[in-house]
Structures are given as C-alpha cells and as structure tokens.
C-alpha cells in the first residue's frame, strides 16, 4: 500500500521508466539455476522424443519396405500428422495425459517419428538390391543382412533424418509452454508475461538456437565417427 502511494506521487510509474535491455548478462548469472533447470527439461524431452521416435520409426520403415501396401498408408499418415499444427497436437493430447511433460513428449515423439520414418524408409530403399542379394547369397540371415548391409549403407540418410528430427524437436519443444513444460520456451513466455522482460525472452530464444546447433554438431560428429569409410573416400 505504501509503495503504491509513493509511486502515485511521481510523474510516471516506475515500470515505464525501467530500462528493458535485450541482453543482460546479470539476468543470466542471477537466474542460472532456473535456466539450467529448463535447459535440462528441454534436453531430456528432446533426447527422449528422438530416441523413442527412432525406436518406433525403424520397425515401421522396415515393415513399409517389405510391403508396398503398407508403404502408402504409412507415408500418407505421416504427411497428415506432419501437417497438424503443434498447438493443436498438444491440445489433442492434453485431455489424455494432463498437465505433465508426458503431453509434450507424446506430441514430440509423433513429430520426430514422422520425420524419421520417411528418412529411414528412403535410406533403406536406397540400399542397392544386388548388394542385398549378394549378402543373402553369402548366407546372411535377416538380422545380419540388416546389421552388416542395410545399416552401413543407409547410415548417411539415417543420420540426416536424425539431425533434422533433433533440430526440429528442439524448436518444437518450446510450444510445450501451453501445458507449462516447454523447456527453455518457459523463459520466452515467462519473460513475455513478466511485463515483456526482454532479457529473459532473449535468453530463452538464444538458448534454444544454441542447443539446436550444438545438438546438430554433436550428431554430425557421431556420423563422422560411425562412417570412417566416408572419411577415407573424401581424403
């Protein structure tokens, strides 16, 4: 009450005059724990979504390669899911899972699954048929055929899909703010709701972009490690 009466005596409200810089290192330092907590949630959601998405997408892609009748519906359905806006997706899932990060996770898995199944299928279809035949002629069973022939040959396409899915998922996680579990997106809307506090918004936005770029570089490194033959070919 006393604070209100003292500000009323002034010409303007204190808030009007308060500086609102775009970048403020002191915000980052003072709120480091909060930022780390949101960053942790963001990373956890992204990793889980991509790993679960890949775990579902791979069998689907293998099945779709085997039968043409399955490939059509799988690709058609994935296009439809891909088109559904994320806000609508989270809203659809919300009544089932409530105000938890599971809501966000399910939505993110759906999107990463859709990106991955396309790339996995494209990678598998890119494996030359005669190489597979040679493998079968050498007595490879289904598992060895996949492990020793399909996987190495399709790996570049697989990794490209994983990179796209990861970067997209990092960006998409922010929409989880709808149910309060948007990782760094919480900083973006949090700053917006805290009287357009720019430093907090910029921290969230820059954090998301940096996280996506770091994840992309890491996956590119993994790809390099996993495909030593590609390096030899380039040299």
């Amino acid at each position: 009450m006393s604070a209100g009466s003292s500000s009323a005596g002034g010409v303007a409200l204190a808030l009007d005059a308060a500086p609102n810089p775009w970048f403020d290192p002191s915000y980052v330092i003072d709120n480091w724990d909060t930022i780390l907590r949101y960053l942790g949630e963001h990373v956890r959601l992204t990793v889980l979504a991509v790993v679960l998405g890949a775990a579902i997408a791979l069998p689907l892609a293998l099945l779709a390669r085997r039968s043409r009748y399955l490939a059509g519906p799988v690709l058609g359905l994935s296009t439809v899911i891909y088109t559904i806006p994320s806000l609508a997706m989270f809203a659809f899932i919300f009544p089932l899972t409530g105000l938890s990060s599971t809501t966000v996770l399910v939505g993110l898995v759906a999107y990463s699954l859709v990106i991955l199944v396309r790339n996995f299928l494209a990678g598998l279809q890119g494996v030359p048929a005669d190489v597979r035949e040679a493998g079968r002629a050498m007595g490879y069973g289904r598992l060895r055929l996949f492990w020793h022939i399909d996987l190495p040959l399709a790996l570049p396409t697989f990794m490209a899909g994983l990179r796209i899915a990861t970067v997209s998922t990092v960006a998409l996680t922010t929409v989880g703010v709808l149910v309060g579990h948007g990782g760094l997106g919480q900083l973006i809307t949090g700053g917006f709701n805290a009287n357009f506090y720019r430093a907090e918004i910029v921290t969230g936005a820059v954090g998301c972009v940096l996280l996506a770029l770091v994840a992309d570089v890491l996956l590119a490194g993994v790809e390099r490690l996993l495909t030593p033959w590609a390096r030899a070919a380039r040299a």
């Binding site: 806006p85 997706m89 997209s168 960006a171 998409l172 996680t173």
Partner: protein, 244 residues
Amino acid sequence: MSAFGDAVVYLNDPFNWTRTNGILDLLRQHLAISVVAVLAALVLALPLGIALGTSGRGGGAVVVLSNVSRAIPTLALLTLFAVSPIGFGPRATTIALAVFAIPPILTNTYVGFRGVDADVREAARAMGMRRAQVIRRVDLPLALPLVMTGVRTAAVQVVATASLAALVAGGGLGRIVALGFGQQNYGQMIAGAILIAALALLTELALVLLTWAVTPGPRRFPFLQVRARAGTAEPEPTAAGMPL
C-alpha cells in the same frame, strides 16, 4: 473423452461462430495474417531465388539459411517481434510469419531454377530468346513443381504457426485453444485444436490442387499420382520446414 464431446457441442453452437471474436472473426484474422505473410515472403524470396538459381551462386548461403531457420523456434521469433518497438498485434505476427515463410520458398526456388538442364537453356538462347524470356518461358515452367512445393510448405507452415501467436497475446484461431486452456474449458480447447488442424489440412489440400492446376505438362490428378509412386519415400527436403 468428454472433452471431445464438449468440443462437438462447442462447434455446434452457432453463437460461437458468429459472435464478436467468435470463430468466424478469428478465422478471418488468421487468414488475413497468413495471406499477407505468405505474399510478403513470395515478393522477397521469389526474385532472390530466381536470381541466385539462374546464376548458380549463393547456394551455400541458401542452405545455411534454411538450416538455421529450422533451429529458430517460431515462438521465440513471434515473442521477440512482439516485444520489439513494432509492438504486439497483427503486424508483429505477420512479420514473424513472413520471416519463417522465406526459407522454404527461397530454397525450393533456388533448387528448382538451378536444376534446369543447361542444354535446354542453351537451346532457348540459340533460338534467340533473351534472358528474361528464357527465365519466363523455359526456366519457370521447368522449375514450377519445386517452386510450388516451397510455396505449399511455406503456406502450411504459416497457417500452422499463426496459431502460436495466441500464446503471446496475438489473435487467430490459436486464441480459442489458449482461452479454453486458460479457463479450463477443455471442450473449447479441443474445438480450437480441431479448427486449427482442419485449416492446416485444408491449406495443404488447396495448395496441392493449385500446384496441379498451374503445373504445365501432362495432367495427372494429384492423389492418383501420389498413389502411383507410393512405394518410394522421399527424404525430408532441405527446407521442408518443421511441423508447427
């Protein structure tokens, strides 16, 4: 499951459609913002894509742009424009959406025009066509399928993303979802989600039909065409955009 039942009830109430700030108002807002954003992106990205594609330069920059744009959350850009001197409202939303519509159009235009067979171009020049003629009568028809893919991707993305504006006090159909959530009126929230999803799917459908109508060459009905090559998956193209 009662939330879905409530959603049907909400959608069946004519008052919810016709009142001020009802579904029709918000839909009009949503479409106006989306159309302006896509047109603005087209005006900027098409000439640039054509110039870069026909000269074959700047490919690296285009790829980097499309990759970086994927990493930027739309929500972040919407919020940043809203708290900038532009101020929040339809203008900030439109600018943010236009920025996001540029990379898909630019990349696909660039790839489309660069992919035109050099021999075809040379034949056109040998027939006495000038540069502008070559671009209009040779390059454009050949690049059109890819250009239209870019436009479709951008348009669907913009329509989908426009709903996020509601999270930062913007308008559009996302408002129904945000309000429904805020008021714990989950039927309304689901109804909004259904409307947004339907609008995105309809946009996709409309642009598939538009692509079919404007693409020269043998006409095949788009859906039959999809079935004909159903067996082959295409990997995500460079700037297919992210789901939004």
